[in-house]
């Protein structure tokens, strides 16, 4: 099942456009992160996506059908909503709360039957919250309540799950639990769309991302192409570094905010790429079959390269290349990315400080 937002725009009555021609699509197994600075309209986007607010232009589509023309009950058998777990929790027990998720599965005059109780308990067991079944929601911690709300949404057996900041307000153990749950749901073929404040969570969990700027425009695509240092700076007005951290299991990426560079920006007109910045790209290749490719890439970027030093080191079985490059950061980043995905090649770019920019001839 595919969920899509096509050219969605939204403005409050008489107000400015909060969202402007935003598109997104999520198929089975996709995990889509919606990112953006505070007030950029992330929550508005989700509310419009689910039909709680009406798009002024554009539409939300479920398998190509406009959801505003679908019967509510059918819509909510396929789609489910996980609100933020904050404050106003009710005094229902966890099991009663989860059971409410079954409401779209039987008629208005019927009471929940055995199958519904079993479905509710099954979901709770899967999420590991069976022990909470008789606890009142008002007496739960934020993490527990969030899991109960996810369970309530899953009780409807949806194919599309929409979560509003599922991990904010949680400590990092609970953040991890919630994110793990989302990953495993996506692995089961549920399309998950979630709002988040953390670009790092998007990088680590999502395969697609929508970045909304302060102007309400969105940039949608694969996570790697959307969550970049350049785009983060444009959308948030924050210089950030995307770094890789090696853990015993794998390499995870993290987004480290460095400094505020300006107001939260706009996603529309791509800012004229900033001036050049001197960088040294260090390459170590231990696979001879990659050397040819490295050479052709460096040739491709030849116009930016101001110096190059190659040092074959047969004793170590490697080839060491240092390239001095004077190019816009995005160009250097693209080169680094292209080099980095070659087998057997390690690469790292070291940039000069910003103050040095003037010293470098344009």
């Amino acid at each position: 099942m595919t969920f899509e937002i096509r050219g969605g725009s939204f403005a409050y009555k008489g107000g400015r456009k909060v969202l402007d021609n935003v598109s997104l699509s999520a198929g089975s197994g996709d995990l889509v992160a919606v990112l953006g600075p505070n007030g950029a309209g992330k929550t508005t986007l989700l509310r419009c996506a689910m039909g709680f607010l009406k798009w002024s232009e554009g539409a939300s589509l479920l398998d190509g059908e406009d959801i505003s023309s679908l019967p509510q009950r059918r819509l909510w058998q396929n789609m489910a909503y996980v609100p933020q777990a904050r404050g106003a929790a009710s005094s229902y027990t966890a099991q009663e709360m989860v059971l409410i998720g079954r409401a779209s599965r039987f008629g208005a005059l019927s009471q929940p039957g055995r199958a519904d109780f079993e479905a509710a308990l099954g979901v709770m067991e899967r999420l590991g919250i069976l022990k909470l079944r008789d606890r009142r929601c008002s007496q739960m911690s934020g993490g527990e309540l969030q899991m109960v709300l996810i369970a309530r949404a899953l009780a409807a057996q949806p194919k599309v799950l929409i979560l509003d900041e599922p991990e904010s307000n949680l400590d990092f153990r609970n953040q991890l639990l919630v994110m793990e749950t989302m990953s495993s749901l996506a692995a089961d073929g549920i399309a998950c769309i979630f709002n988040t404040h953390y670009p790092a969570h998007a990088m680590r969990r999502a395969n697609r991302a929508l970045l909304i700027g302060a102007d309400g425009k969105g940039l949608f695509g694969d996570v790697d192409s959307v969550v970049t240092e350049e785009n983060i700076e444009r959308a948030f007005g924050v210089r950030a570094v995307i770094s890789e951290v090696e853990t015993p299991v794998n390499i995870t990426r993290d987004v480290i905010p460095i400094s505020v560079t300006g107001p939260a920006g706009e996603m529309e007109a791509r800012r004229a790429t900033g001036g050049s910045r001197l960088a040294v790209v260090s390459i170590i290749s231990c696979a001879p079959r990659s050397d040819l490719k490295i050479n052709s890439l460096l040739h491709e970027y030849g116009g930016y390269i101001v110096g190059r030093m190659g040092m074959p080191y047969p004793a170590g079985g490697v080839n060491i290349i240092n390239v001095n490059i004077d190019a816009p950061e995005s160009v250097t980043a693209a080169l680094t990315q292209s080099l980095g995905i070659l087998p057997g090649v390690s690469v790292k770019a070291t940039f000069s400080g910003l103050d040095g920019r003037d010293a470098v001839g344009q």
């Binding site: 509510q72 229902y92 027990t93 509710a120 949404a153």
Partner: protein, 337 residues
Amino acid sequence: MRKAGALRPRQVVLLAVLPLVFAFAAMCLGRMAISPADVFASILGKLGLGAGCDAQTEQILWTMRFPRVLLALLVGAGLSVAGCAFQSLFSNPLATPDTLGVASGASFGAALGILAGFGLIGIQLTALFFGTAAVALTYLAGRGMGRDVSAFVLSGIMIGSLFSALVSLVKFTADTESQLPAITYWLMGSLNGKGYGSLALGSPLILAGILVLCLIRWRLNILPLPDDEARATGTNMTALRGVTILCATAMTASCVSMCGQVGWVGLLVPHICRMRYGSNHLALIPACISLGACFMLAVDTAARTASASEIPVSILTAIVGAPFFIVLMRRSGGWKI
């Protein structure tokens, strides 16, 4: 497997038997006490299983006490269920037919009906109309102030006092010889002197309201949820809210048109039930029906037996209700529906 929130068989039996026990006791009690044995014999007689009692006892039991017992059961159940529904609808523990202005609106309608010289049906219809108008006004006035505990109650108090003023206006224009005493006495709220006739006129709306809310009682669980979450259950919330308001208002207006403004029942009973049976309407609605009926019957029986001249029942419910209301308000900060 135990169903979450549903009543256990033991509780079902208790809730079913309790009103019968109370009713039996109420038949025995009164200014002229009748022994349980006589009441039992008389009931058997009615069922065609015995000779019954002497004519005077039969007269008291079946022309005076029985309709009144039925009325008390009905009004108690109706007001409690209506109160419970209003609380969930406004997700506000202090929402009741009284605090939302429904009772005042219905009172105004009924007073207007008496002034116009309508019969009981006419009075009921005007009570229903103005009760609905009052709750609609309360909703419109309180909307947009958030789902705050105080918003709807504050607007309800305003609308309530508006209709109270209108009731005074009606009284002012009423004929002091016949209409004014009728309105005044009736407003005090009493279950006195109602025969089977008025019962037959007042009961259908109450019974229908109880039946409908009972049928959709599990869905009522969705009412207190925040709006987005409620809609995400795939339930037609406009219809659910509409049906709930209509039922609760019709029940309140019917009660008011039969026995005046009997306050506090719609607040007291649902909260006792919530404390005892939790917030799940699957259990809550049946509990409200049963305990509401018992409470009203107990208060009314006390009202007619306690002293030689009968105390209006609304005075007694207020004496029990006001302190409870204060306690409730003081702890309502942490009180959730």
